[in-house]
Symmetry: C2
Subunit: 204 residues, 2 copies
DNA sequence: GCACAATGTAAACAATGTTAACACCTACGC
DNA sequence: GCGTAGGTGTTAACATTGTTTACATTGTGC
């Protein structure tokens, strides 16, 4: 975070924009959202507070950009986990495993980076999650579509399915990030929730 | 919120503690959590900022007490909704309706009072929800126990059941409070989530 | 009726986000 | 090459926060 690719004098930082967001990430990750301040970010970036206003409208916008970056990270984390599932002859089984890998990754991210997870889903703009968390949402939709294709999921409710699945797992992830659930209970809870989602979305 | 039961002079407020929390409630309810400030609360209570420190350690503690009060309100709201379910000859059906009434009330509260719902579940103390939201948690446990008694719910997973149910509905409620789900989708989503929870907890 | 505890006020403090006026550096037109 | 314009930094101020300290007022128990 300390001045990457700087040339010549050190009056100009070189890449303050990225450095600032990176510093913000470290701050939140270590000490929580309330520790996020313009002056602290400026210090960590080796720059005066006012300099940040050349790159961000205000603190809120900086926070929002950090949140967007974290949501992207979350999506990539989920993608990576899903890609570890090896395709087998049993296409239905494979599809289910991939779906579950996404859910597990979602909750794992909340457990591994609770503060980042929290900041990622603070929003004041009232946007639907489908737009709010692009990558993760697309991965989920893709997975549910695949489940439909292999005949596991009821085609009639495919449209509403992502919202159901997201809500159910999101609730657990939020509580995990808040450490409101004992670690030893988390795995079992997730498994039952994923089970419930699948049953709710299956043919009856 | 303006000075209840005041007698004689007006140097002493009379019931500043309650007045302050009531003012805080109004502030959050109208303009969101970020509008919650010592000075604003003092103004609304007709008192100087420093006076509040006779009744609260700091702003954070005041906020925490407001949050606790809102969680209590939520619990009473759920209780009231559940009590509207008339017992019928079909005990199993009645138990299911009561369970669903609790879930509906939870999400309705989040829809009706989004800002209050949000502040209610901000916690830094890492307490499990079972202690964090006493009344609502007890109602849920009671409902699930009843479902077990009528033979609908698998007794083997009764212990973990409340956490599953809470998580699933909580996720939806959080997103509803954030207005991240279109209103027209909320009812259907809730119904499917409750359906999934019941299936996950039933005998297989 | 008097002392003491409870509860209020006013004024200061440090720390915050933000802005305005100024300084420096880089890059591009001539 | 040179100079100038624009991008990027600094310093100093500002208003607004939460909080504390010293003092004022009121209610209460002996």
């Amino acid at each position: 975070m300390l001045t990457p690719t700087r040339k010549g004098s050190d009056y100009h930082h070189g890449d303050l924009r990225h450095s600032a967001i990176s510093a913000a990430r470290n701050l939140v990750n270590k000490d929580g959202i309330s520790s996020l301040g313009i002056r602290r970010i400026a210090d960590l970036s080796g720059v005066s507070p006012a300099a940040l206003y050349r790159h961000f409208e205000n603190l809120e916008q900086l926070r929002a950009e950090l949140a967007a970056q974290v949501r992207q990270e979350l999506g990539e984390f989920m993608q990576h986990r899903r890609n570890r599932i090896k395709p087998s002859a049993n296409r239905k089984r494979t599809a289910i495993l991939k779906f579950e890998a996404l859910g597990e990754a979602y909750v794992d991210f909340a457990r591994l980076h609770p503060r980042l997870f929290e900041i990622a889903f603070i929003q004041s703009n009232e946007k639907p999650i489908s737009e709010f968390s692009d990558l993760a949402w697309d991965l989920l939709k893709e997975s549910l579509t695949e489940l439909t294709a292999v005949g596991f999921l009821d085609r009639k409710i495919l449209e509403s399915a992502p919202m159901i699945a997201w809500s159910s797992v999101h609730g657990l992830a939020v509580l995990v990030a808040q450490k409101a659930i004992a670690v030893r209970d988390q795995d079992g809870a997730l498994r039952q929730i994923l089970d419930g989602v699948q049953r709710a979305l299956s043919y009856k």
